[in-house]
């Protein structure tokens, strides 16, 4: 009954409690709604990215038959779209730069598609999009970047793909850029038309151009109907899964799909199994060797630079290493130091059995560096020459080396190193005409493998006697031992991975609720304070209830339940407001703090569960605040409550000295200093936790200090009680209230000041090797790999780079295995981050490691466990994107689909290498041997030449899609994300602080209202109303100053380690402006509350007494 009466009667007085609870619920529920909306948006983007695709097969530089798609469609009752996907760059030859059009966009995704691609688009109506030769589609992002519309004309540059890795020896020239010119843009594709298609999860789609697959094949001069990407979806089978797709793939794949070839050799006596990649990789060789294991024989054919003997030289010839059984005419017991030569060579060099013969040959080291080696053998026998070849015939021993086998003349060879045409004699050209690639010498396989084995393989053929297996059986027999996965063919679950990735790396809703922490704190403090005011105004009622027999607990419960009912009412209002708050935050994330989200458009999602949770938590927190605020109320004698009413002030036993508070203050302060000293504080690896903990200790110390001071001030005597003295002493009259005011202000100022100090830019101190740029001046990436060493004269000449411009430039190249972007720019969860392969010694002393004993040599450490490689990554990547820590493991698959892991052996801080995992180059090429060339670069150069060098690299290497920028700018993009989150924190913290300063105004009004009689007395004895207002302002100005001082002082101490360790600089002027603003805002509220409370004379209130 009493509860009902109280709520109905005092609801106006309790509006503040309702408001405080509403704010708290609004923020909590709003944050949860933001989190849900972000997740839903990422889910939508993921669905747009993958359309109706369930699984994908991606073979990168290997190509399968387009017919494989049709076979899979039939078996799986699905749609299978074959695609030729390549990286390249696009240019607009008609670009009008004055209208904002740009001429070129590097690093684009080129998709050669047929109509089946659009059948898998998100929207079924996209399936009717036509494909015409000479016409292309572009996605919205590319169109916007180029500032083009339908009908624009574009040129495309891309690398001619090759089965044979261009890093490999004898792989031919590396400069194979194809150009597809003057393609007209038919349409700009939106997200529902597969405009956002990408292999990896990101809220920002790649720049993409869509071209009919045959047009692309024609442009890059590829034979056959080939593809390197297959998408499957819309299966009518309800149990369709990626495993099912792989099972069917195992049934229908052909050897050709895995680049496996075979032909009859030795006059039809043997089969020779080969690979389109020339060198047979270890996985395939292992499978091939299981076919007729007792009788198969490996061969390896290589181009030697020269045979030398007796002072004579035979240049540029093939030699073969063979295993016994490879050919009947060859002996089975050739020793490692013996060699067989053919008649031609014997005559050319004057050889006879027992002669010494030297072979000079190149092996390719990293960056296509050629090292010439020599091996010497003893001639065992001279072999007769075979019959001369007819036109088109090729040697059984020699695979089709690109740049060699397809040339008519030796002088036209392009084996990947410079041929000295002067060395080639007529007889050499005659030999080529008559015998093509027939080897001039033979050694045994083990000797050959010692010289010529490389990461791509150690054989160029495996020979199996024909009589052991019939042709039809050979296909099936090979497939018995070589799986589709061995051949690099395996489906991945695109849909599962996409939806998993869309769950996000960080829970933005959780972050928003952390950032809103101060609004929540301020609103709870306001709620508690206003509730206490309400109780105090009914002290006399409480006294009556106690006097007539209510227990203290019952009275307190009565008030508390009243408060909770009000909090629930406020909570309901808060739930409604949360919709507005969440929409506001999402708008801010898209438009104001867009660096944090890539200007992503969010869909607002209303989720009843989120609102309910926010409501429940908000009510719970409000109830706690009400209890904390009120549990010490009513601890008075009923007679005191009856007599003094709302003017009752807390009286303590005796006169407090504040000694205990001062002691605690010193202890907490010293504790905070010790904590920073031993842990490194906010400058250490666990910066956030240390910052908050040390800050908390300092703030508590400050509050205890003021508690002690106020205790003493209350009983201070001896000064002449003028208005300043009275105002100063009045701060101590309601010690709890004053402390809450100081505490709320100090907490808010602490957060806002500290956060300002964490803002960093990429430009400061970039030249330092321990900075986020590693001291590098330029960062660059290319769409098409660069194989040569750009630091050598030869490498620079290859591309026409100017030696003078690059005289002081040193470039460190990185190999790249594309994966998920695990940087803070990607809101999606990264499961397989991009891998960079690096020579660790080239990064020695660069970047700053989180652990003091760590350095780049960690990458070269031997693998303690097979298939676990040591890796290094940026701290943000490890902590936020991967949600891992030092020692954590990341799962990967190598290019043959075999699993391995990377262990996080070291962590670097705040670097531009964010988003990737770095491993040693030696391990990179072990796992991805066909991943040729380098696509990511860091360069040292003189600081005054950065722009010149970057522009030069971008211009000259534009065919390779090179983009080079100052390194500090790239670092700045990552830091902008961090700064955006800090800005969000500051904005929300600032809102909370405004709430805190408004709360100060309420405290002022309340204080003055309680003392109306006393103020009336002062007036009655002669003080003017103006001077009384001045006293009130003096009193509350002290609270404001102490709050600002405590917050600023503790913040500076807590962030000092961070400022020192990061060389981030101290934004003194920014902070000065901020503090002045806060002081002005607080003074405004104090002044306003004073004016409103003391608008008229207080003498009439004295008369009422």
């Amino acid at each position: 009954m009493l509860l009902r009466c109280n709520i109905a009667h005092f609801w106006r007085r309790n509006l503040g409690v309702i408001l405080g609870s509403a704010l708290c619920t609004m923020v909590l529920a709003g944050a949860l709604l933001v989190g849900d909306s972000v997740r839903e948006s990422l889910h939508r983007i993921a669905e747009q990215r993958i359309g109706q695709v369930d699984s994908l097969l991606f073979t990168e530089d290997r190509f399968f038959r387009e017919a494989l798609a049709t076979q899979l469609e039939e078996k799986l009752d699905a749609t299978a779209a074959p695609i030729f996907i390549l990286r390249g760059s696009v240019s607009n030859p008609d670009a009008d730069e004055e209208t904002g059009q740009i001429a070129r966009v590097p690093n684009i995704q080129v998709l050669g598609i047929d109509e089946r691609f659009f059948q898998l688009a998100p929207r079924d109506s996209a399936a009717s999009l036509p494909l015409e030769d000479g016409r292309v589609y572009v996605n919205q992002r590319l169109a916007k970047r180029l500032a083009i519309d339908n009908g624009a004309t574009l040129n495309i540059r891309l690398e001619e793909p090759a089965l044979f890795s261009r890093d490999a020896p004898l792989s031919g020239t590396s400069d194979k850029v194809a150009r597809i010119s003057r393609q007209k843009v038919s349409k700009i594709l939106g997200p529902e038309e597969f405009g956002n298609f990408a292999l990896h999860g990101s809220q920002i789609p790649p720049y993409t151009i869509y071209i009919p697959i045959q047009s692309l094949r024609d442009g890059i001069e590829t034979e056959g109907q080939k593809a390197n990407l297959l998408l499957i979806g819309k299966s009518a089978q309800t149990e369709f899964s990626t495993n099912m797709a792989n099972d069917v793939l195992e049934e229908v794949w052909a050897l050709e799909d895995g680049g496996i070839e075979y032909l009859k050799v030795n006059d039809g006596r043997d089969w020779s199994l080969r690979s389109g990649s020339i060198f047979i990789n270890h996985v395939l060789e292992k499978g091939f060797r299981k076919v007729a294991p007792a009788t198969n024989a490996g061969v390896m054919t290589y181009l030697v630079n020269a045979f030398e003997a007796n002072g004579r030289t035979a240049p540029y010839s093939f030699a073969t290493a063979f295993q016994p059984g490879a050919a009947p005419e060859l002996p089975n017991n050739l020793a490692d130091d013996e060699i067989l030569v053919n008649q031609w060579l014997a005559e050319d060099l004057g050889l006879k059995p027992g002669s010494e013969l030297s072979l000079k040959y190149f092996i390719t080291q990293g960056r296509r560096e050629l090292k010439e080696s020599t091996a010497t053998f003893k001639v065992r026998a001279i072999l007769p020459m075979p019959k001369k070849f007819s036109k088109g015939q090729e040697s059984d021993w020699t695979p089709a080396f690109p740049g060699l086998s397809d040339e008519e003349n030796c002088r036209d060879w392009e084996p990947g190193f410079a041929i000295d045409e002067n060395k080639i004699r007529e007889k050499d050209e005659d030999y080529w005409d008559d015998y093509r690639g027939t080897p001039k010498a033979y050694i045994n396989l083990s000797a050959g493998q010692k010289m010529w084995s490389n990461r791509w393989g150690q054989t160029t053929g495996i020979r199996i006697p024909v009589h052991k297996i019939a042709k039809d059986d050979l296909d099936n027999t090979i497939k018995e031992y070589v799986t589709a996965s061995d051949a690099g063919l395996h489906f991945k679950d695109l849909r599962g991975k996409a939806l998993e990735s869309a769950k996000g790396s960080i829970d933005l809703g959780e972050y928003i609720s952390y950032f809103s922490f101060f609004i929540i704190l301020a609103s709870l403090a306001l709620t508690g304070m206003l509730f206490v005011f309400s109780i105090e105004q009914r002290n006399q009622q409480a006294g009556v209830l106690l006097a007539i027999g209510y227990t203290e607990g019952k009275v307190r419960r009565l008030f508390l339940i009243e408060g909770i009912v009000l909090a629930i009412a406020g909570g309901i209002v808060g739930c409604i407001l949360s919709l507005v708050y969440a929409k506001g935050i999402l708008w801010g994330l898209t438009n104001v703090w867009k660096d944090a989200t890539g200007a992503m458009q969010f869909d607002f999602t209303t989720n009843f569960v989120a609102i309910s949770m926010g409501f429940a938590i908000g009510i719970f927190m409000a109830a706690i605040a009400l209890w904390l605020a009120s549990h010490k109320q009513l601890r008075k004698e009923p007679r005191e409550l009856l007599n003094a009413g709302d003017q009752l002030e807390i009286r303590t036993k005796g006169r407090p000295t504040g000694k205990l508070s001062h002691f605690l203050s010193i202890a907490l302060f010293v504790g905070g200093l010790l904590y920073i000293t031993f842990t490194g504080g906010s400058g250490s690896g666990a910066a956030s936790a240390n910052f908050f903990l040390s800050g908390f200790l300092f703030l508590l110390a400050a509050l205890f200090f003021f508690n002690g001071r106020l205790a003493r001030i209350a009983y201070h005597q001896g000064d002449t009680p003028d208005l300043n003295v009275l105002g100063f002493r009045n701060t101590a009259r309601r010690r709890g209230r004053s402390l809450v005011t100081i505490g709320v202000l100090a907490s808010g100022v602490f957060m806002v000041v500290a956060v300002s100090s964490f803002h960093v830019t990429g430009e400061r101190d970039w030249e330092k090797k321990t900075s986020g740029t590693g001291g590098f001046a330029i960062v660059a990436k290319s769409a098409i790999p660069i194989y040569n060493d750009l630091n050598t004269k030869q490498g620079r000449e290859e591309f026409g780079l100017d030696e003078k411009i690059l005289a002081k430039t040193n470039i460190v190249p990185f190999r790249v295995r594309e994966g998920d972007d695990a940087s803070c720019l990607n809101l999606n969860k990264a499961t397989e981050p991009t891998i960079l392969g690096i020579n660790p010694s080239e990064l020695a002393g660069r970047f700053k490691f989180a652990g003091t004993k760590h350095d780049w040599s960690l990458l070269d450490a031997d693998k303690n466990v097979p298939d676990i490689l040591p890796g290094i990554a940026d701290q943000n990547t490890v902590t936020y994107a991967l949600q891992q820590k030092l020692g954590g493991l990341i799962d990967y698959k190598d290019e043959n689909g075999r699993p391995f892991q990377i262990r996080i052996a070291g962590v670097i801080q705040g670097s531009l290498l964010q988003g990737r995992v770095l491993i040693a180059e030696k391990y990179f090429i072990e796992k991805f041997p066909s991943q040729a060339g380098y696509r990511y670069f860091l360069a040292d150069t003189k600081s005054e030449e950065i722009e010149t060098v970057a522009a030069h690299l971008s211009n000259i290497l534009h065919d390779q899609g090179m983009e080079a920028h100052p390194a500090w700018k790239r670092l700045g993009e990552f830091l902008a994300v961090q700064n955006s989150y800090l800005s969000i924190f500051q904005a929300l913290g600032g809102l909370g602080l405004l709430l805190g300063t408004a709360g100060l105004g309420i405290v002022v009004a309340r204080n003055l209202m309680e003392r109306r009689h006393e103020l009336g007395l002062l007036e009655a004895i002669g003080y003017s109303l103006q001077s009384i207002r001045k006293m009130a302002i003096v009193e509350h100005r002290w609270l404001m100053l102490w709050g600002l001082a405590a917050g600023t002082g503790t913040a500076l101490i807590a962030v000092w380690p961070a400022i020192l360790s990061r060389q981030g600089g101290f934004p003194a002027s920014e902070l000065g402006v901020l503090l002045l603003g806060l002081a002005a805002s607080s003074l405004f509220w104090i002044w306003l509350a004073t004016i409103l409370s003391l608008k008229n004379s207080a003498i009439p209130d004295l008369r009422k007494e």
């Binding site: 009954m1 009466c5 006399q540 009622q541 009556v544 007539i548 227990t551 203290e552 019952k554 007679r639």
Partner: protein, 229 residues
């Protein structure tokens, strides 16, 4: 032993830090039987209200014995003291202290919600409250709020409130202090009538000798001592 017995009751307060304690009164004695009434008179600040508070378990004596119906009042724990105030004592204050958010009837019922009374049917309690309001002449005002009543009417409501739990003692601290003469007289007559009807022990603190002389006993509290007149 008497129903209500005060024996050598003294009260003093601690002075400011380091100072002497302040004596309010000492060795006060009083004895009353059920149905008897007493007035305590004396100058302002003599401790009359303090003595009443001690009897009503709103305060504790520095020394002495306070017994009501065999209970040693100063030794009661908080909950027992609250129950005592709720069931045994009825308090009437100088300022009525009615709850403005409740009606007249609800104000009278407030003491029944304290949780010490035996469970009674709501109708029975309501009937008793209405009956008491009838006794004090406010039957027609049960749904009105305190703000709609005169000072005298409010004080009569507080009388009804004090009696709702059928106490044995009625303590009235300057009940007529805020009333004019006519209302004061009416109120005292109502008090005495109800006291007789319900055989209550009544103690009234008052400045007014005419009111004091209507009681069975009169005590004077002055200069720290209490004398029976």
């Amino acid at each position: 032993m008497s129903f209500l017995q005060l024996s050598k009751v003294s009260k003093s307060y601690e002075g400011p830090a380091g100072g002497q304690s302040i004596l309010v009164f000492q060795d006060a004695n009083l004895e009353l039987e059920p149905g008897q009434s007493a007035a305590i008179v004396g100058p302002s600040g003599s401790g009359k209200s303090t003595l009443l508070n001690i009897i009503g378990a709103l305060d504790k004596p520095t020394s002495g014995i306070v017994q009501v119906d065999g209970q040693n009042i100063p030794e009661l724990q908080d909950k027992a003291a609250a129950a005592f105030r709720n069931l045994t004592v009825g308090f009437i204050f100088q300022i009525h202290h009615l709850l403005p958010q409740c009606t007249v009837l609800e104000n009278v019922l407030v003491p029944t919600q304290a949780g010490h009374t035996k469970k009674e049917h709501v109708g029975v309690i309501n009937q008793r409250a209405r009956s008491l309001l009838g006794d004090v002449g406010l039957s027609q005002r049960v749904q009105h709020r305190p703000g709609e009543l005169s000072g005298g009417e409010r004080q009569r409501v507080s009388v009804a409130r004090a009696l709702i739990n059928q106490p044995k003692i009625l303590l009235a601290d300057e009940p007529t202090g805020a009333l004019d003469q006519e209302n004061s007289s009416n109120l005292v007559d109502i008090l005495l009538k109800l006291q007789k009807e319900k055989n209550l022990t009544l103690i009234v603190v008052t400045h007014s000798m005419p009111i004091a002389e209507k009681m069975d006993q009169v005590y004077r509290l002055e200069n720290g001592t209490m004398q029976k007149l």
